[in-house]
């Protein structure tokens, strides 16, 4: 199989692999979907009992035990790991990630935890893509494309939304739109959607009715966009705060997850809307059947946000897509009810319309990916009529959200660790190079007690301008001799016999270590004006690092980036 594949043009290779990735990622999504339905139905028989509030706790604890003790997967919630793998690790992901989060998320959500299945299917699909890429021994830049194919296919299959899969991957994960990536990603997304439709049927999850959209409704979009952005910001901050609080608690991870699950279960006793994915809430709002008043809408909205932050912050496994959609639809509902109360004379487009816009607003605000929000809402509701309003809400929500929270929920963790590198930037190219790669080890080491004559002999045979000086006893680095330092002695045989290396060497040389990154190395180059720097680790000379070599590698890396 490898042989036939390698005969193909690189683009065709990627297209063929994208088809395979699309099929497997779709199967993973369908398996999770079916699993969630089955387990939720089975647990549904017991939901009416008093002890049902412990279900989320048991599910979260089992999920944590499964992740930490059975499959030993200590990764986070998934999407940041995929972004990290693409931006820093040539798309390498572990095989265990292709199933570990699926099982963990099944346990969390089916038991009532407030989370969605999307982040786990994204890492599962991405891991499938990565491992298929590795199986075919693809280069890093090709494997990155297969990872993106997997992520897009997973989203496309789980929402029956191919365009959302493509847009989400390129906007929120890859961070760039290039034709080389777009074609295979689109193919994987389409294939996955087809596989999902064959296995589960072609259904629009939340089909909406036709709306009569007036200018008043369009104007109200601005208010809803701002409210959605505020809700997004609050949700992101709650997630961060709850996560921090739970991490600081003593005890094993499964105990913390169980504690979060118990609190969610207790909330569910009073407000069952907060449990699980919550798609039933969206359906009720889209079908205009949510009959409770403004106050209850506000309470459910706040409770759902708290339940999501508790579930995910305490260590439960799951994603934010589904909770964001639910929170968004509740935001839209709440906003509609405020409008209806404040201006009863106006014939508003209805709670369904504002519910859709709220979903786009919150998901765009949290992911800071407006197009993902737009296409997701349009595809899962089949309502292209609202496109204009949805775009308006999404872009305003992202703008406001970015003002208060500069990074999306997926990027925050990476930004905090300094690991977020935007593609095709100077930093990205430099981060792909490491010190060992550019380290020059073919240097001539000289002794401090060496006479200059011997050094001149070495200079004659060498192509280098810098000569490191080492202590012959301890092997410690003592300094450097630059050709300029000895130029005046070169034609004086008398001085060559009398002057020693230690007399001409520079002992206060700026050095770098292997732990430094190339950004720091360039800072030193700029500050000192040097062309080469010695790399010294614990007093031992390891080699030289020169501007010319770095630039040479930089150029090669740039060419690789241009190819992709």
């Amino acid at each position: 199989m490898h042989r036939y594949l390698y005969k193909l043009n690189e683009r065709f290779q990627l297209i063929c692999i994208a088809v395979v990735v699309g099929i497997f990622a779709a199967l993973a999504s369908v398996a999770l979907n079916r699993g969630l339905v089955q387990v939720s139905e089975w647990l549904g028989h017991f939901r009416g009992n008093w002890y049902a509030f412990v279900f989320p706790a048991v599910g979260a604890a089992l999920s944590s035990i499964f992740l930490h003790h059975v499959v030993k997967d200590y990764g986070g919630h998934g999407v940041p790991e995929v972004i990290y793998s693409i931006s820093r690790r040539g798309g390498l992901l572990r095989l265990r990630s292709s199933y570990s989060r699926l099982v963990a998320c099944l346990l969390t959500i089916a038991s009532g935890g407030s989370a969605g299945p999307e982040a786990p299917v994204v890492i599962s699909g991405a891991s499938i893509g990565s491992n298929i890429g590795t199986f075919f021994r693809l280069k890093d830049r090709q494997r990155i494309v297969t990872v993106e194919c997997g992520a897009a296919a997973a989203i496309a299959a789980i929402f029956n939304a191919p365009v959302t899969g493509i847009v989400f991957t390129l906007e929120a994960i890859a961070g760039e739109w290039s034709p080389t990536h777009l074609i295979p990603v689109s193919i994987a997304s389409v294939v996955a959607t087809e596989v999902s439709r064959i296995l589960q049927g072609n259904q629009i999850p939340f089909e909406s009715r036709l709306f009569h959209i007036s200018n008043w409704d369009m104007a109200a979009c601005i208010g809803l966009a701002v409210l959605s952005a505020l809700v997004s910001i609050s949700l992101m901050r709650m997630l961060r705060r709850f996560s921090g609080r739970f991490k600081s608690l003593p005890g094993l991870p499964w105990m913390r997850a169980a504690m979060g699950g118990t609190l969610v279960g207790l909330m569910g006793l009073v407000l069952p809307h907060v449990l699980g994915e919550g798609y039933e809430v969206i359906r009720t709002i889209i079908e205009e059947e949510f009959s409770s008043g403004m106050l209850l809408a506000g309470v459910v909205l706040t409770a759902k946000m708290a339940a999501t932050a508790l579930t995910i912050g305490s260590g439960g496994s799951g994603g934010l897509f589904a909770p964001c959609l639910v929170i968004g639809s509740l935001t839209g509902l709440f906003f509609h009810q405020v409008l209806d109360t404040a201006m009863p004379a106006i014939d508003w487009a209805g709670q369904s319309y504002f519910g859709l816009l709220g979903m786009a607003g919150v998901i765009s605000g949290v992911l800071q990916a407006p197009m993902t929000g737009v296409f997701l809402v349009v595809e899962i509701t089949g309502s292209y009529q609202v496109l204009l309003s949805v775009v308006l809400v999404a872009v305003i929500s992202v703008t406001v959200s970015q003002f208060f929270e500069p990074s999306s929920v997926y990027h925050q963790e990476l930004v905090a660790r300094g690991e977020l590198v935007k593609p095709r930037t100077d930093r990205h190219i430099l981060s792909n190079l490491n010190m060992m790669e550019v380290l020059e080890t073919d240097c001539h080491i000289v002794r401090p007690t060496m006479r200059l004559k011997e050094l001149v002999d070495i200079v004659r045979r060498s192509h280098r301008n810098y000569f490191p000086v080492e202590d012959p006893e301890s092997g410690d680095f003592l300094g450097m001799v630059h050709l300029d330092d000895i130029r005046s002695y070169l034609f004086d045989p008398y001085l060559q016999d009398t002057v020693l290396v230690e007399q001409v060497m520079e002992s206060n040389v700026e050095t770098v270590s292997l732990d430094d990154d190339l950004e720091r190395v360039f800072e030193i180059f700029d500050r000192t004006g040097a062309w080469s720097l010695p790399v010294v680790q614990d007093g031992k000379f390891l080699g030289l690092i020169s501007k010319a070599t770095i630039l040479d590698h930089y150029r090669k890396e740039l060419l690789v980036n241009e190819e992709s």
């Binding site: 030993k72 200590y74 990290y84 240097c443 080491i445 292997l514 680790q537």
Partner: protein, 273 residues
């Protein structure tokens, strides 16, 4: 230029022996010892085609307060300067990525299993993953500190064996220790192996008789292994098969590691020479 050896420190008496072996190796070969003291149960090593997920056994994290102090004591007693690495990159907040840009790495026979499992004939699955993917040779030390007085290279004529020969010859040259080459002829004449050595660029070694050739045309391989000096550092090439393939089909490495209690340097298929 200094080469570097990566050592993952286990703060137990067993870990002390292993670190002493690393210190000895570094001192003999003038290599810089770089020690990683784990703070989490797992770390990742990103190789070119595979991520090695190293699940450490509990003993690696035992008594973290004294780990650095113990490691420093052992390294200083061995005449080296302590040098510790702190991973700068993390796949997740509790999942550090340990760099792989080293020239050697020390691995006990098992890194993920309890040390009670460490015995002759047992190479842990994670150690096999490292051997299969690493571009550096892997030092598998004996469970108890043991100095070595010579270097023995296993040479069977293959490409991997030539890589092992190169590593072995380099180690013998740096340490100034005598070198043995062990060959079990497999229905092939001695000329075949000599030709392979010449092709590999070892003509000088062969002509100047810079090694003693333990060449066996007859006899059982395992029995002939008795002729390998007990205090020799064994250098052997490996194809890097997984544990199932190794057990089902066997390999020279499998037989050597089952029989010989020596310190071993395993040169995997991805080692760049």
């Amino acid at each position: 230029m200094k080469k570097q050896l990566l050592h993952v420190f286990r703060n137990t008496p067993f870990g002390r022996e292993v670190l002493m072996q690393s210190v000895y190796f570094c001192r003999k070969t003038d290599t810089l010892l770089r020690v990683y003291i784990p703070r989490y149960r797992q770390f990742l090593m990103y190789f070119q085609y595979e991520i090695a997920t190293i699940d450490l056994d509990k003993s690696f994290l035992r008594d973290p307060d004294t780990a650095r102090e113990h490691a420093e004591q052992i390294i200083l007693a061995g005449g080296l300067k302590p040098s510790f690495i702190t991973p700068k990159r993390h796949t997740a907040s509790t999942l550090p990525d340990v760099p792989v840009d080293f020239d050697y790495m020390t691995c006990p026979r098992s890194i993920s299993d309890l040390s009670t499992k460490i015995s002759l004939g047992h190479l842990g699955p994670k150690v096999r993953v490292i051997i299969r993917n690493a571009h550096f040779p892997v030092l598998i030390p004996t469970p108890v500190y043991k100095e070595w007085k010579s270097v023995t290279v296993f040479f069977g004529g293959s490409h991997n064996a030539r890589k092992a020969m190169k590593v072995g010859a380099e180690l013998a040259a740096i340490t100034g220790l005598p070198m043995y080459v062990f060959t079990q002829a497999e229905d092939r004449p001695r000329q075949y192996y000599e030709h392979s050595l010449l092709e590999g660029g070892f003509g000088d070694l062969l002509e100047e008789r810079r090694f003693e050739w333990l060449f066996f045309e007859k006899g059982d391989f395992k029995i002939n292994l008795y002729h390998v000096p007990h205090d020799s550092l064994v250098v052997v090439g490996a194809y890097g098969h997984g544990v199932i393939k190794e057990v089902l089909f066997g390999s020279v490495l499998e037989e050597i590691q089952t029989v010989l209690p020596n310190n071993m340097v395993i040169v995997g298929p991805e080692v760049q020479i």
